[in-house]
């Protein structure tokens, strides 16, 4: 358990470092939903190359790191109905709120943005209630 926390902290530092590079070098806020969403709805066409390069890094580095681990289970549910509903909610919600865990959470809260804190409280409360409801009450997940 404690090693999980240590790796969490190390991974967190790398995440923050990624955000720092993207801000200081490229002048952009590292928000995963915004970078992906801008490509999906066409609003990010102007800097599409930069976005694709960023996303390629997110996708590819785990490919390189994966062989270093003996076994990895992401514990994802096998229920496609749940996955589709969850994916739609995440896609719609992050674009309406204009940010997710990386944009509002990491980048927003670290510059003391009120919107970052409000969004983070809202999605954590909703996520917590969701898990309680769907796991303990309905038993879906």
């Amino acid at each position: 358990m404690v090693m999980d926390w240590v790796w969490g902290l190390v991974g967190g530092l790398l995440i923050g470092l990624g955000g720092a590079v993207y801000l200081l070098a490229n002048g952009r806020i590292m928000g995963a939903s915004g970078i992906i969403g801008g490509l999906v709805d066409g609003t990010g066409r102007r800097d599409a190359v930069e976005r694709v390069a960023f996303l390629a890094g997110v996708f590819l580095l785990p490919v390189l790191l994966y062989p270093l681990y003996t076994s990895i289970d992401t514990h994802i549910t096998g229920n496609w109905g749940v996955l589709i509903a969850a994916g739609l909610l995440v896609g719609i919600g992050t674009r309406i709120a204009n940010g997710c865990t990386s944009g509002h959470g990491v980048c927003g809260m670290s510059r003391l943005a009120p919107r970052g804190f409000i969004a983070t409280v809202a999605y954590i409360l909703a996520g917590g209630l969701g898990v309680v409801l769907f796991r303990h009450v309905l038993g879906v997940i």
């Binding site: 902290l9 995440i15 969701g130 796991r135």
Partner: protein, 144 residues
Amino acid sequence: MRALFAFIAGGLFGSGLFISGMTDTAKVQGWLDVFGAWDPTLAFVMGGAMIPMAIAWIIRARRDTPVLGGTFPPPAPREIDRKLIIGSVLFGAGWGLAGLCPGPSLASLSYGGIGHWVFFVAMLGGMLVAPRLSIRLDRTVPAE
């Protein structure tokens, strides 16, 4: 050059998500599940990520332009609108349901199996229709 640094930033982000265990849906749901076996890992990840990012914002305040040119993002908007709340609540519900958010969803595509692709494609679908819903939310706001 911009693409190279974007790739480096994305690579750091992706490796951080992978190493921290945030691509493990059980860890995310374990953090949200205060009535189950609560897993505090996510708080360490968030705390760890805040440190370099907070330093970056301090450095940003002392610079006029980004290293590669262009402009810095505008100051954080202070307006709390209902789109922020409604969107975040919808996002949180989906996050809790699957244990995935946009970054980890992409970082786990290569090895997580078919379920991760199902979630990812649904998420892209949600992002495609979101602007229409967003406009509707704007319209129904009473004039002030």
